[in-house]
């Protein structure tokens, strides 16, 4: 699952909490990903529409647009989106599953699990362009 040296896989980290953004960037970059950041759902949507990311790692509770709303807006074509939440409502979780989020991680999470989920999400997809999520 290790990314190749020549072509780094890209991850967009979206979280309104600066500390979370920064530590995730550091962890993912140390793991060999090329990481971009967005500070809220609106910025993330703009970025994701202009650029293709292998994985979007996104918080659910955010200003402007929630992670679930961004997920819904980016439905086609679907990037692999991993959602994070501190305390999500049942309704949001259901919607996230409906829009085929790749996984939902509950904060605080084990880094080993995070890296495992991101690596799975970044792996080349099958012919249908979709694999069942982990969460």
């Amino acid at each position: 699952m290790k990314p190749t040296v020549l072509v780094k896989q890209t991850v967009l980290v979206v979280d309104d909490a600066a500390g979370m953004r920064q530590t995730l960037v550091d962890i993912l970059e140390a793991a060999g990903y090329s990481v971009s950041i967005a500070v809220d759902g609106g910025a993330a949507l703009a970025l994701a529409r202009g650029e293709r990311f292998d994985v979007i790692l996104m918080d659910i509770q955010m200003p402007v647009l929630t992670g679930v709303e961004v997920l819904a807006a980016l439905d086609h074509p679907p990037p692999q989106i991993v959602l994070m939440t501190a305390y999500a409502l049942e309704e949001q979780m259901g919607k996230a599953r409906d829009h085929q989020a790749f996984a939902i991680l509950q904060k605080p999470f084990q880094i080993a699990r995070l890296l495992h989920v991101v690596a799975e999400a970044a792996a080349p997809c099958d012919g249908n362009g979709y694999r069942p999520g982990l969460g």
């Binding site: 909490a17 500390g19 979370m20 530590t23 995730l24 550091d26 962890i27 140390a30 509770q61 994070m84 501190a86 305390y87 509950q106 904060k107 605080p108 999470f109 084990q110 880094i111």
Partner: protein, 529 residues
């Protein structure tokens, strides 16, 4: 000895009856005495009237005798002339004799006799009477005595010439008067006995209208003057002089009083019983009302408590949510620090890092409890192996220094049917609680074994322990005796165990330690995926 309880209303009714009957009795006695007194007064009046009438009648008799004496005196005490005049003056009665006696001789000699023949001389009482009449001038005198087989009365009156005395002797049959029963006759309501003497002696009885002498019952007597003698008349009434109604009035009062007393007693009994019943009903209603109020208060308290818990839950959810982000950042930072220290080989710093990681673990557990309390969710159960889960928990919450964990899993056990995340929360709570109960170090013993219908898990510490009162409250939300913690761990633990259909109990002794025992249903064999 058994005591019979008499109802108050019956006692009160009894008192009413007794009081009224007493009043009626006293009243009837007073009436009876008044009636008797009046009866006696009337009787005495009658006796006096009869006495006066008899005195009148007797004076007529004396006049008759005086007339005979006068005639005899005028005729020069001639026996023939006496007989002629006397025959016109005195109607002869059967068995009676009228005699001209000469008391100048001894014995008294009968000079002339009209009517029934007498012996020539007087003897005994007649002699004494005639002599006595001679001594008492101008007065008639009487005597009752027996002569032979006859009972007679003698009357004597002095002629005023020498020793001559007019003497009459009549046979007496005292009962011959019979009883005057005719309503039209005067004094018909009386029984009369007339004595020729001052006392009621049978020997002097002249006449009576009663079969029995002396008279019995209420008797009134009156004196009557017969010449030189005092006679006595005694009467009693054949029927009450005051009338039957007055005589029986006291019975009426007594019986009426008793009847009224019984009626009032029954009325009092009924009213008082009704009153008692009403009071009992009021008491019952009051008790019911009080009970309802108590229930209402309890319900109100519960509503308030739930509202408060809901508010706390809302706050907890917000705080939990806000805390999970910083905890996430710290966890991430710890990861980066550990990677850096591993590269640089800083062992001392690693110790500090481990401490920081443990504290984050504790904070994460508290947040988990808070969120579970605020928004409990139904368990999503799968078969869970307790041994593996225990490994993971002890990895996440490693024992602090000075504390050892002994695991007794020799018996082995089948998987339990549980929500893995919730059960991990339970184990984390029990294990960290055990750690915190032993600030000076000690041993935690974890026993997992089969139990009827499921699996039994025991977590025992050798810590400070609790008294009964504390142990009884440990499962209540926000109850804590620890220096840190918010008192939700065991409440959430119990909620989760209950939601799993299991049970949790605690036994503890101060200074000895505490054991929590959890029973969980076993997963059905073959249900495991």
């Amino acid at each position: 000895m058994t005591s019979i309880r008499i109802p108050t209303y019956r006692l009160a009714a009894f008192v009413v009856v007794v009081v009224i009957v007493s009043i009626a009795s006293v009243g009837s006695l007073l009436i009876r005495n008044a009636v008797r007194s009046e009866e006696h007064r009337l009787l005495q009046e009658r006796a006096s009237e009869i006495g006066l009438i008899l005195t009148e009648a007797f004076s007529g008799l004396q006049t008759q005798m005086a007339t005979v004496a006068g005639e005899t005196q005028l005729n020069g005490a001639d026996a023939r002339a006496f007989m002629a005049s006397t025959a016109t003056l005195i109607t002869a009665q059967p068995g009676s004799s009228t005699v001209l006696a000469d008391a100048g001789t001894d014995p008294v000699r009968f000079v002339a006799v009209i009517g029934t023949a007498l012996p020539p001389t007087a003897v005994g009482p007649a002699d004494a009477l005639i002599r006595r009449a001679l001594n008492l001038r101008a007065e008639i005198t009487t005597s009752v005595f027996d002569e032979g087989s006859a009972h007679v009365i003698g009357l004597a009156y002095p002629v005023g010439v020498g020793g001559l005395v007019i003497y009459r002797q009549l046979p007496l049959d005292p009962s011959a008067a019979g009883s005057a029963t005719s309503g039209s006759q005067p004094f018909h309501e009386l029984t009369v006995a007339l004595y020729a003497g001052p006392t009621q002696e049978k020997a002097t009885l002249i006449l009576t209208t009663s079969g029995q002498v002396p008279l019995r019952g209420s008797v009134a007597v009156a004196s009557t003057t017969f010449g030189a003698d005092q006679w006595l008349v005694a009467i009693n009434a054949t029927s009450p002089l005051v009338g039957n109604f007055a005589t029986n009035a006291f019975w009426l009062v007594l019986v009426g009083g008793v009847v009224v007393a019984l009626a009032l007693g029954a009325l009092a009994d009924s009213l008082l019983r009704r009153r008692e019943h009403t009071l009992a009903l009021v008491d019952q209603r009051t008790a019911e009302l009080r009970d309802s109020m108590a229930k209402l208060e309890l319900a109100q308290e519960q509503v308030l408590r739930q509202a408060r818990l809901a508010a706390i839950g809302e706050l907890a959810a917000g705080v939990g949510h806000e805390l999970r982000n910083p905890l996430g950042v710290i966890t991430n930072a710890h990861y980066l620090l550990r990677a850096g220290f591993e590269q640089q080989g800083g062992n001392g710093l690693m110790r500090h890092l481990a401490l920081a990681e443990r504290e984050v673990g504790a904070a994460t557990l508290i947040v988990g409890d808070l969120l579970d309390f605020a928004g409990p969710r139904e368990p999503v159960t799968t078969p869970v192996g307790l041994h593996e889960l225990l490994d993971e928990v002890l990895d996440l919450a490693a024992p602090p220094s000075g504390i050892t964990v002994d695991r007794d899993e020799s018996a082995g056990c089948s998987p339990v049917l549980a929500d893995r995340d919730q059960l991990r929360q339970v184990l984390l709570n029990l294990i960290t609680n055990a750690y915190e109960a032993m600030p000076g170090g000690g041993a935690v013993t974890v026993v997992v074994r089969e139990a009827p219908g499921g699996v039994e898990l025991q977590v025992t510490d050798s810590g400070v322990g609790m008294d009964q009162e504390t142990a009884a409250q440990v499962f209540q939300p926000f109850f804590t005796r620890k220096a840190r913690g918010i008192g939700l761990g065991l409440a959430v633990t119990k909620r989760i165990i209950d939601a799993h259909g299991g049970g949790i109990s605690v036994t503890s002794a101060p200074g000895v330690g505490t054991t929590f025992r959890v029973d969980l249903p076993a997963a059905v064999v073959g249900a495991a995926p």
